[in-house]
């Protein structure tokens, strides 16, 4: 089943990336075409102009912002809710974001930042920042960041849940010993909790980066990669090449690049896990 369902299509895809529309071998031409396209990397605009910066850089920005935000927020929530009253309910509420299909999440994020119906703009108006109220996903300056912030809300539950499980595995003795030695709660957090959660952090970081790389559905429904390509990501670009431009060869080149990136993360994760074991 693995050979038929995964290996063979993967080999076919890689093969497609090295041929042209007539099946002739063209070496790296499709990769060069993709990477030279400003849709993929636009160094002329990055970082001093507003997006679009190209799908590859958008994915990178996603990782740089979304990863720390969702991981740190997940950790804080897990620690804060560890012994709180009604923790199970609150965790359930936070985890709802993960239960929502991302295709629906995209619609929610879009309306979250809507000028007329959005909660974010409602809050801005309520605190006297009405001048900032506008549909964030409409503007190239804010669309990418709106999607990233929205997806933090959707993804934080994942990190929180895994950290909550990780916290139960840290022996209470460690905290008691640290307290006897005069460690403050902050020092206990820094020197007991954080190292104790290291294996969990590895899993969360790896899974989150993989999600950020293969991101598609949320962007598709929220902005379709716009305006002006300012939220385009690699997986969506691959889809546009394959199913809108009907160019399977360039789509395969993007797919191969994406696979290489995810493979690098996967290998890093496995190595890190082995070192930790």
């Amino acid at each position: 089943m693995i050979a038929v369902g995964i290996v063979w299509p993967a080999v076919q895809t890689i093969g497609l990336a090295f041929v042209d529309a007539h099946g002739r071998f063209v070496g790296l031409q499709n990769f060069v075409s993709v990477l030279q396209n400003p849709e993929t990397v636009d160094l002329g605009r990055f970082p001093f102009h507003s997006p679009p910066w190209g799908s590859l850089l958008h994915n990178a920005v996603w990782i740089v912002l979304h990863l720390p935000l969702s991981v740190i927020l997940g950790l804080l929530l897990a620690v804060l809710l560890q012994r709180a009253h009604g923790a199970a309910f609150l965790k359930g509420v936070v985890f709802l974001g993960m239960v929502i299909p991302m295709i629906v999440g995209g619609v929610l994020v879009r309306f979250l930042f809507d000028e007329h119906a959005g909660v974010v703009n409602g809050v801005l108006r309520a605190v006297g920042l009405a001048a900032w109220a506008r549909t964030w996903t409409d503007y190239p300056q804010t669309a990418l960041f709106a999607l990233i912030l929205g997806s933090v809300w959707l993804w934080t539950g994942f990190a929180m849940l895994l950290y909550s499980a990780g916290l139960t595995a840290i022996p209470r003795d460690y905290y008691e010993a640290a307290a006897v030695d005069g460690a403050s709660p902050w020092q206990q957090f820094l020197h007991v909790t954080v190292p104790g959660l290291r294996p969990m952090t590895t899993v969360i970081v790896a899974m989150t980066v993989l999600w950020e790389l293969k991101l598609f559905d949320l962007v598709y429904t929220a902005t379709l990669g716009g305006p002006g390509g300012s939220t385009l990501v690699l997986a969506l670009q691959m889809y546009f090449y394959g199913f809108r431009a009907l160019d399977p060869n360039r789509a395969a080149a993007v797919a191969t690049l994406l696979s290489l990136l995810t493979l690098a993360v996967g290998v890093g994760f496995v190595r890190s896990s082995r070192e930790g074991a």
């Binding site: 529309a21 809507d114 000028e115 007329h116 119906a117 506008r134 549909t135 409409d138 503007y139 190239p140 379709l224 990669g225 716009g226 305006p227 002006g228 390509g229 300012s230 546009f240 090449y241 199913f243 809108r244 431009a245 009907l246 160019d247």
Partner: protein, 433 residues
């Protein structure tokens, strides 16, 4: 569909003992593999089985697929109900957007399957994929002279038929809003700008014009109206055919001196159905939209519209239908297609309202609701032109929507937008896709 599936599975019976499960699973896997490799035999597919596979008395069940939801769906259903009575069939209606169908249909057709028996789709798409469509020439030819628009033809054979026509005639307003504020539809460009200025000073109005969004297509309709008004109907045709570049000075000038000055009076793109409510409630005064808006407001008689002063043409978008080769009941599907484009079927649709005009000459205007008659009267003498982005299609269409969304909020990016559109147009023309 479900019944047929159940029937196929029933002979396998209930697994007995622990060894039955792998056997059943193996048989199912083998059946699936054989089905996939065989690609389905003639007459199977579509709805999953052979025509007439059920009991002799059971009516044939057809699936009709179109993108109409909400009010448009409600207006279409009486036509299907009438077809059920006339043809003695059962019809199931399913909603799929053309954008989604464009992705879903090719792999299904390649596997000799079809999700529906009559499918509404872009004409350019059907032409590109005509090998999967039934030849409808025999249905079309006897009545072709009655139609104002062509069928989708490839090498002299007809593969898709025109069903209904919408026009994108101009800026819609509420008559009551104009009366209350002492406003008049403009007759010159200067009057238009003065009207926008006057509206912008009315308390409670956020902006004079609300801009519809979604995937971005409402912005293209407005843009095309500017191009046709100030470049003439020929410009629309030339841009579709690729005879004029997007970066040409005359095209750029229309954007720079006509469209962009209006954008300061326009909202940022707002989801287009949400925009209808905001406009109807008076937060905005004008809305550029197709005439299907007449079926989406509380009081169509309160509607008025005006084209840009000097417009000699407007876009008329035609919905086309085709019959896929792999439907389970191709003969019945053809009969349904014939009914839908017949004088009777067309008159019935036009009576339901919602801005659907008939492409048939012999369906008189008096069949239509008052608001639709008003539209038809007001656009008399104007050239009906094909929709630009629908005609070009492909990935360029998606790019056009997206680039206009950028232009609407960042007019300073005009040259970049036009350059991007031209490069993509050239690339699409070269690749032939």
């Amino acid at each position: 569909m479900h019944q047929r599936t159940m029937h196929r599975r029933s002979p396998l019976g209930r697994p007995r003992g622990g060894r039955a499960l792998p056997v059943v699973a193996s048989l199912l896997a083998a059946a699936l593999l054989l089905g996939a490799c065989g690609g389905g035999s003639a007459g199977t597919g579509a709805n999953g089985g052979k025509a007439g596979g059920g009991a002799a008395s059971a009516p044939v069940e057809l699936t009709v697929i179109a993108g109409w939801a909400g009010a448009e769906q409600s207006q279409f259903m009486p036509v299907l109900k009438e077809a059920e009575k006339k043809l003695g069939i059962k019809i199931t209606y399913r909603i799929y957007r053309a954008e989604d169908l464009a992705n879903v249909l090719p792999p299904q057709f390649q596997a000799q399957q079809a999700p529906g028996d009559v499918i509404f789709m872009w004409d350019w798409w059907v032409k590109q994929n005509h090998q999967y469509a039934e030849d409808l020439t025999d249905i079309w030819q006897p009545q072709a002279s009655q139609f104002t628009v062509p069928a989708a033809e490839v090498d002299g054979r007809v593969y898709a038929l025109p069903y209904d026509m919408n026009v994108k005639p101009g800026f819609w307003y509420r008559k009551s809003f104009f009366e209350k504020n002492g406003l008049q539809p403009p007759k010159t460009w200067d009057e238009f700008l003065a009207l926008l200025e006057k509206i912008s000073k009315i308390p409670g109005v956020r902006k004079p014009i609300v801009s519809g969004d979604g995937t971005g297509w409402p912005l293209t309709d407005e843009t095309e109206h500017f191009l046709i008004t100030f470049g003439g109907p020929e410009l629309q045709k030339d841009l579709i055919a690729g005879r004029v570049k997007w970066t040409a000075p005359r095209v750029r000038d229309i954007f720079q001196s006509r469209l962009i000055p209006v954008l300061q009076y326009s909202s940022a793109p707002i989801e287009w159905t949400q925009a209808i409510d905001l406009w109807w409630n008076g937060q905005y005064a004008l809305y550029f939209m197709g005439n299907w808006i007449t079926g989406m407001v509380k009081d169509p008689n309160d509607l008025g519209f005006f084209p840009l002063p000097g417009a000699k043409g407007i876009v008329g978008a035609t919905d086309y239908l085709f019959v896929p080769k792999y439907g389970a009941h191709v003969a019945e599907a053809k009969k349904l297609a014939a009914f839908l484009i017949s004088r009777e079927g067309q008159a019935l649709r036009v009576r339901q309202g919602g801005g659907k005009l008939s492409p048939r000459r012999d369906v008189p205007l008096d069949q239509a609701p008052a608001v639709d008659r008003m539209v038809a009267e007001q656009i008399k003498g104007m050239e009906i032109l094909p929709d630009l982005d629908d005609s070009i299609g492909g990935d360029w269409q998606r790019l056009f929507w997206d680039q206009l969304k950028l232009l609407w909020v960042q007019p300073s990016s005009l040259d970049r937008v036009l350059r991007t559109l031209e490069q993509a147009r050239e690339q699409q023309s070269t690749s032939g896709k």
